[in-house]
């Protein structure tokens, strides 16, 4: 007699949180494969470490909170957090760094606030910020992209580096890591070199190959593809990525036109660093994003502005995590002032 109590509507489309999260994970696959291809096995190892930690942490909290462990774990949200976090961390980050970030994401950012649906901040980005602030040196362990690296790491070497900090074959750490293009550009601009000279210099030109850097442009392109697929299937709201990318392009273009020597092009900004991952997978996390249609335009544009400011003038290489969390703080305010016009109410 369960039905007798259920009230209308008695119909439902076949959507579920689980299927949404599953599709998000599918959409991450092309970009992740590209990242593994260009930046090595470390990316995959990171994903595995983060996934195991996040799921275990989630299960533990659910057990403490006496919640339904099986169903909640199956909703897939912890796995999505794990993947986003792992893809944002440097590929050769030591294992404990990933574990700390994951624990923070799940335990503090998610469950301390009440679990799925109640977290005001994007958990993956909170985890990222914590390790970014606490371990800035380790956060620069980006592998050089394939084709530029002096030597390539085998899967076992990668495991060894991540878990013990050195390889048995004694590969020089410096020969396999390299600053990211955004970081490089920032350092060079700090040394009074302009954008074009840096990009053309013999030292850096291989890194900046074509648009926004070897590997980076492809990783971004594949994330863009996955993201478009999500938007097409209405898994994510199209407004946030649109407004984010549009605003980033406009702002970057404005400064690049104003002073092309000190500011890189819009194309560079849009296709480098974590831009596409942020646009389609991080900023679109529904729980911590604005929930009104107009609010989402503002939210996306706000992140773009902050990302640009941090990238251009801030102290950290890529500002996505900070930008997202700062805009998370503004969400209640944005939501309140962007309520839609209710049917039948006088036009304001």
């Amino acid at each position: 007699m369960l039905f007798a109590k259920a009230s209308s509507p008695y119909m439902h489309d076949d959507s579920s949180v689980q299927s949404i999260m599953r599709k998000v994970l599918y959409a991450l696959i092309p970009g992740s494969l590209a990242a593994i291809w260009f930046f090595g096995w470390g990316v995959l190892v990171n994903i595995l470490i983060a996934a195991i930690t996040c799921l275990a942490a989630e299960a533990w909290v659910l057990w403490l909170r006496k919640r339904d462990i099986r169903n909640t774990l199956l909703d897939g949200s912890a796995l999505v957090t794990a993947c986003l976090l792992a893809l944002a961390l440097p590929p050769l980050a030591p294992w404990w760094l990933t574990v700390i970030a994951s624990l923070f994401a799940i335990l503090v950012a998610k469950h301390l606030y009440g679990g799925l649906g109640f977290n005001p901040f994007n958990p993956a980005m909170v985890g990222y910020i914590v390790v970014m602030i606490s371990f800035p040196r380790e956060m620069t362990f980006w592998t050089a992209p394939v084709g530029i690296a002096h030597s390539e790491l085998s899967f076992l070497d990668t495991l060894q580096i991540i878990f013990s900090g050195h390889t048995s074959t004694g590969i020089d750490f410096d020969s396999i890591t390299m600053a990211t293009p955004i970081d490089t550009l920032k350092t060079q601009l700090g040394l009074e070199h302009d954008v074009e000279t840096t990009r053309q210099s013999t030292q850096y030109s291989p890194l900046f190959d074509t648009i926004s850097g070897v590997g980076w442009q492809w990783v971004n392109a594949w994330f863009l593809l996955g993201g478009l697929w999500l938007a097409k299937h209405k898994i994510i709201d199209w407004r946030i990525p649109t407004s984010f990318l549009l605003a980033l392009t406009l702002i970057a273009n404005f400064f690049a036109v104003y002073d092309y020597a000190s500011y890189s092009s819009a194309l560079f900004h849009v296709f480098s660093g974590g831009t596409m991952l942020a646009a389609f997978f991080i900023a679109t996390d529904p729980v911590s994003a604005s929930t009104t249609p107009r609010g989402r335009w503002i939210y996306g544009a706000g992140i773009a502005l902050l990302v640009y400011v941090i990238r251009s003038w801030g102290g950290y290489p890529d500002g996505i995590a900070f930008a997202v969390v700062l805009m998370n703080i503004a969400v209640p305010l944005i939501d309140y002032y962007t309520q839609p016009h209710t049917f039948g109410k006088p036009q304001k």
Binding site: F3, S7, S8, S16, F343, G344
Partner: protein
């Protein structure tokens, strides 16, 4: 110029809505069948929004078919009538189809199968020479209520004040339901005749028949029925099939691009909306002098062998309808009255069909409906899908958040009372939250609180009225003094300036004279009494004003 070609109107859209699989072909395979007479009928006294009437018959009494059984003087009410001739075997509380599941007063009639009608005098086409107020009374006495679902007494809606457009609504947007569709296919002329009467009552300047574009047969039938209208008074308007375009406010938005202001009725913007079934019932009243004692009901779903539409007398047991269509022995007894989006679950099939029973949807679980909305749905992930589909353009997730938190002030702030309970939000919610259930809860709780507050107010007002009486006495005294002073001052201004002295004296004398007369004429006790009465009246006035202010 022929009325059957649609003018190229561009249609407006309301926000959101859903494209649903309609499952209508299930029940449109056969013509409307008439359910054979039954042995016993159970007629609930209250079948519509409003007040129950007074029962006019007694147990044991013989009634004729069409005889009035209960009536009320209250404006918001509709009488009920005997669907057959026979004997009243009981009057008492029986289960009725209502979301609350509570029993209510019913009149039971045992059929004598004589089909013995009360005397009938149909007015026919003479209706167009009868004053609207009389026609309205006839419609009211025939017990006609809106047959589209809510069951609002029809006569009340038909005011003559500035109504320009009459919409005859044939948009049946809920899946599965086809009773209006079949009625239009088979009885188009009758619907038009009934609409014309309504148009006459409200002095409409145009009548628009709205039908969704997934009902080509109904559109064709209605167009054929208005083919000889060359004036363009009638017009059939096909509208896109989007749930819930059948809603009054939604259909007005679509065809007229006007928004009925929140908290108002279509009347306020010069529109009247009536369901095709209602127009048909009015036709029966005018041309056959029949009260509303039967209606077309869609019996559908996978719990019956031959889903179809039946013409059923009000008061018939639902079980009889199901059996007529053929049931399965092991069938699940779940029945939804109304459609799958806005209907409600019945606890048994032994309940009577009432005036607003448009559809009985059987075996909801086998039809893959009514997925058990377990108590532990997932939390809201703020995905905003509900926002995209809400036809009232609300923020359902915020309504859910605040009604869950019981922050009723905020819920009202987010326009809870503009929610039409269409269920679009719950349909798309990936967390499968029974959102509408939360809104219904919040609404009823707010009403409940409002009522309690009003009761407390009345007690407080009694106290305040006493205080006010004391104050009033004081103020009256002061007022009198002030008037006196002013009269003294004002007089000279009325007359020539050089006459001040003389006039003032004369006036004073006159006043004294008048007062003397008054004192002579009026005995003292009456004087006192009337003052007291005055105070009472004042207090009552004041109370009324206050309570009025509270209400508005």
């Amino acid at each position: 110029m022929s009325a059957q070609t649609e003018p190229p109107t561009t249609l407006a859209q309301f926000h959101g809505g859903l494209k649903l699989k309609d499952h209508k072909q299930l029940s449109t395979q056969t013509a409307i069948a008439k359910l054979p007479a039954q042995q016993r009928y159970t007629i609930p006294v209250l079948q519509h929004i409003g007040k129950a009437g007074e029962v006019l018959v007694q147990v044991g009494e013989r009634v004729r078919k069409g005889q009035m059984l209960a009536q009320s003087k209250h404006l918001l009410s509709a009488p009920i009538h005997a669907p057959v001739s026979g004997t009243i075997s009981d009057i008492g509380n029986y289960p009725v189809p209502h979301p609350s599941g509570l029993p209510a007063q019913c009149i039971i009639i045992d059929n004598d199968f004589e089909n013995d009608w009360v005397e009938r005098n149909p007015v026919g086409d003479a209706a167009f020479h009868i004053p609207p107020s009389t026609l309205r009374r006839m419609i009211r006495d025939a017990g006609i209520v809106g047959l589209g679902g809510a069951g609002f007494p029809t006569a009340i809606k038909q005011t003559e004040i500035d109504i320009k457009t009459l919409i005859i609504n044939g948009v049946e947007c809920e899946p599965y339901i086809t009773c209006d569709d079949m009625l239009m296919r088979e009885r188009a002329r009758e619907i038009i005749a009934g609409s014309e009467v309504i148009g006459h009552i409200i002095k409409a300047r145009e009548i628009i028949i709205t039908i969704e574009d997934n009902k080509p047969e109904a559109i064709a039938a209605m167009q054929a029925a208005i083919a000889d209208d060359t004036t363009g008074y009638f017009r059939v308007q096909a509208v896109p099939t989007i749930y819930p375009s059948g809603g009054e406010k939604q259909i007005i938005k679509v065809v007229l691009d006007k928004e009925v202001p929140s908290n108002s009725l279509p009347n306020d913007i010069g529109v009247l909306c009536q369901n095709v079934g209602t127009a048909y019932a009015i036709y029966r009243t005018m041309y056959h002098d029949e009260p509303l004692i039967s209606r077309v009901v869609t019996i559908t779903g996978h719990g019956v062998r031959q889903p179809q539409n039946l013409e059923v007398a009000v008061g018939t047991a639902m079980q009889a309808c199901l059996e007529f269509c053929g049931t399965y022995p092991q069938a699940n007894t779940d029945i939804v009255m109304g459609g799958p989006m806005m209907g409600f679950n019945l606890h048994s099939s032994k309940l009577p069909v009432v005036k607003v029973t448009n559809c009985l949807l059987t075996n909801t679980s086998a039809s893959n409906l009514a997925q058990p909305q377990s108590a532990s749905h997932l939390p809201c992930i703020r995905c905003g899908r509900c926002v995209d589909v809400c036809p009232a353009n609300l923020l359902p997730q915020q309504l859910y958040w605040y009604s869950g938190a019981r922050d009723f002030e905020r819920v009202v702030d987010y326009h809870l009372f503009d929610c039409i309970e269409c269920g679009c939000c719950a349909y798309v919610c990936p967390s499968q939250i029974p959102l509408v259930q939360y809104y219904r809860h919040a609404k009823s709780e707010i009403w409940e609180r409002e009522r309690e507050r009003k009761e407390a107010d009345i007690a407080r007002q009694r106290h305040e009225a006493h205080q006010a009486r004391l104050e009033k006495q004081k103020r009256d005294r002061e007022e009198k003094l002030r008037q006196k002073r002013e009269a003294l001052k004002a007089r000279p201004a009325d007359t020539a300036a050089n006459d001040i002295g003389k006039n003032a004296i004369a006036a004073a004398l006159a006043r004294v004279e008048a007062k003397k007369k008054q004192l002579d004429l009026a005995p003292k006790n009456t004087d006192n009494l009337s003052a007291e009465q005055q105070q009472l009246i004042d207090a009552v006035e004041k109370r009324r004003k206050q309570s009025h202010q509270q209400e508005t």
